[in-house]
Amino acid sequence: MTSITEAMPANAARASRERFWYPYLLIAPTMITLTLVSLVPFIYTVYLSFHAAKFGRVTDFIGFDNYLHLLSDTRFWNSIGVALVFVGIAVPIEFMLGLVGALVLNQHVKGRSILIPLLFMPTMMAPIVVGLLWKIMLAGSWGLISYNVLERFHLIGQTSAFASPGLALYALVFVDIWQWTPFMMLAFFAGLQALPLGPYRAAAVDGANGVQVFFHITLPMLAPLLVVIGLLRLIDAFKVFDTVYILTGGGPGISTETPSILANKMTFEFWNIGEASALAVLVWIAFFVFCNIFYQVAKKRLNAF
């Protein structure tokens, strides 16, 4: 009794081996690049988070000290709170406005070819430009909107959104909505354009109205895209840095200090790299858990994947 392998000609065995390795060979360049640019720095960040690393010098292994210090720091929790408020307000509004806008665009609006590039302008701008633009718009005493419109025409007096602890965060939310709603709109619009026409024709034959079509056809078919874009935007909004850095620097006080701003301060101002690494790792863990839960919910409840 000879085995199958023994019976298999040598060239067939080689072909089988090649078939096995072929996909790995194809993705190898990407995996190597990703490992080098993502995984290695991340592993090093984890390593730093367990060490005393001050002024760029890694010294003693200190276990969870950086984490414990961070978790007992009110400033860390404040930054998490700020990010949650920011994300909790900005992303749902961007999502809803984006979806409504996409549905409107999908209705064969006149001048759509001109409108789409115009709509995309805020998203195409560098965050630093967006920051400066809104600084000019909303600055106290001289801002184009705050001073020359609101104050001059006695609509609102003493406007200085970014200088007010109560208003600064909401002003930043407004800027974020202004910048990212068009992105959501265009992403959803692209999704709508790619939907098959068959189900719509069937719905028309069955006499479904617009609301029924939207909730029973459009939304379920668009769900995977909505979930992915929403999740990406949520992660991105939580990490917001540039516009906050330009417009408020995390102030007044610490009222707009997001985890990214705090991490930047810890790293490049205080040179407390160990603790900043611990912050980065904690945020990563939180997102890892959140994204997994979100994925499972989206898969089971929304049939999104």
Binding site: R57, A139, S141, T248, G249, P252
Partner: protein, 470 residues
């Protein structure tokens, strides 16, 4: 035998004296003929050094002089200028990394504590003592002493000379203070003559008096927009807390640490200073919490505020025809003090250029730094800038300053520099400053009372350090 020893000793002493005298007179002759640096630089001819400095009008004037060093010594200088925030971030990052791309980096006084504690600044005592490198005519006694001593030295070691003497002055609208109608109204309300504020209390009165709404009259003319009695820095970061600390707290007899370096933020003096700080914010533009050290001179130049305390080097860029419509109408004075106080303090930032511990060109870099601080270069710098901010006492007598039409500015500068100190060398300076900046902002915005702010500041400081000095 004893006489033999004596003869030998005497002979040796005489020889040594002769050698020393010859060396000294030789170097004096070399220095006088202007060739000391050429001679000292011979071993380093062809070397390239990299120096990072901050960009302000002062450095722009200096950049016209730097090529002369290259001509004189054959040492090439790559002199990079970046803005205030970049020079701090990039310079520190390079030094802390140990890469040593820059041989020398400009440092504000406040940076020295953290950087010294990180061990990335090279002491220069050995270079200062090296007769081949030390210019005998440098005349360090001519440096304005307090800023020089407090910035360039730490723990009995010298780390630099002095390069920049950034300092703050009181800056007001002279045309308003001398307006007869305003003077009469002011005297009627406050009981004393309207003039540039000498005390913090007077500054507060002037701030209150000149805060007016659109449509009200200012110097007899109706206002087209709101006018404010004072403008101050209020942004988180920048030099906001420095203004509060050195112009208010210290003038009230307070400080953030005691002599031993223990946090001392919750004293009655500091509470009183914070109270005054909060009062002044009420007479400032609504955007004060966004104003940085750059915005304050802009606001003053645009003419929407009556007075401020600002960096004198920024004044030089604003109070000139073509820049501000109020050029020539401003008046300057020393930073106001607390009424009745014998203490005098003013915010200043004596700044130095230090040699990176990672530099492989310490000697030629030292020669360049020494050359920059030399009287000849400093005189030229003042002349080129048609004024400037001196680091040497002898500069006050230069025609560019003595005959400058802006006499009150230079008088104010001189007064400030007499009492200017570099920030105390604190390893945790940045953490402390960031936290206290937040508190300064919260007090100004009325989010927290001065007493609570003092308690909060003290508690937060103690979390960071119990002995905060190097």
């Amino acid at each position: 035998m004893r006489s033999m020893t004596w003869y030998l000793g005497a002979g040796f002493a005489a020889s040594a004296t002769l050698i020393a005298a010859t060396t000294f007179s030789g170097s004096l002759v070399r220095a006088q003929s202007g060739s000391f640096y050429a001679e000292a630089a011979k071993p380093y001819k062809g070397t390239t050094i990299r120096v990072l400095d901050e960009i302000t009008p002062l450095q722009e004037a200096l950049s016209k002089i730097v090529p002369e060093f290259e001509k004189e010594t054959g040492i090439k200088v790559e002199w990079e200028l970046l803005n205030h925030f970049e020079v701090i971030n990039k310079g520190q990052a390079d030094m802390l990394s140990g890469r040593g791309y820059y041989d020398a980096v400009m440092m504000h006084g406040f940076q020295l504590g953290p950087m010294l504690s990180a061990g990335v600044i090279r002491p220069i005592d050995d270079l200062v003592k090296n007769p081949k490198l030390a210019d005998p005519n440098l005349a360090t006694a001519d440096f304005i002493q307090r800023p020089y001593k407090t910035a360039a030295f730490a723990k009995d070691k010298q780390y630099a000379f002095i390069n920049w003497n950034y300092n703050q002055v009181y800056w007001a609208r002279g045309d308003l203070l001398s307006d007869l109608e305003e003077q009469t109204a002011f005297k009627a309300k406050y009981g004393y003559d309207l003039a540039p504020a000498k005390t913090i209390e007077q500054m507060r009165d002037i701030a209150e008096f000149f805060t007016r709404k659109k449509g009200e009259k200012l110097a007899g003319k109706p206002l087209a927009s709101d006018f404010y009695g004072i403008v101050l820095e209020g942004i988180k970061g920048g030099s906001t807390f420095g203004v509060l600390w050195n112009n208010f707290m210290k003038n009230y007899g307070g400080d953030i640490v005691d002599a031993a370096g223990k946090p001392n933020f919750d004293t009655p003096e500091n509470v009183a200073a914070l109270g005054m700080w909060a009062q002044l914010w009420k007479f400032a533009p609504p955007g004060i919490a966004e104003y940085s050290l750059v915005d304050v001179p802009t606001v003053m130049g645009n003419g929407i505020a009556a007075q401020t305390i600002a960096w004198s080097d920024f004044v030089l860029g604003v109070d000139k025809p073509g820049v501000s419509p109020f050029a020539g109408k401003f008046v300057y004075a020393p930073v106001p003090v607390k009424a009745g106080s014998t203490v005098r303090s003013a915010e200043a930032e004596p700044s130095v250029t230090v040699i990176s511990a990672a530099s492989k060109n310490a000697e030629p870099t030292f020669l360049f730094l020494e050359w920059l601080a030399d009287k000849k270069q400093q005189d030229k710098l003042i002349e080129l800038g048609q004024g400037g901010v001196p680091i040497r006492s002898s500069s006050w007598a230069l025609p560019a300053i003595k005959d400058n039409p802006n006499k009150t500015l230079f008088a104010a500068m001189e007064s400030t520099l007499e009492i200017s100190s570099a920030k105390p060398k604190m390893p945790k300076y940045y953490e402390l400053y960031d936290m206290l900046s937040s508190i300064a902002q919260e007090v100004g915005l009325g989010k927290i009372s001065p007493a609570d702010a003092a308690k909060k500041g003290q508690a937060e400081m103690l979390k960071l350090c119990t002995s905060c000095l190097l």
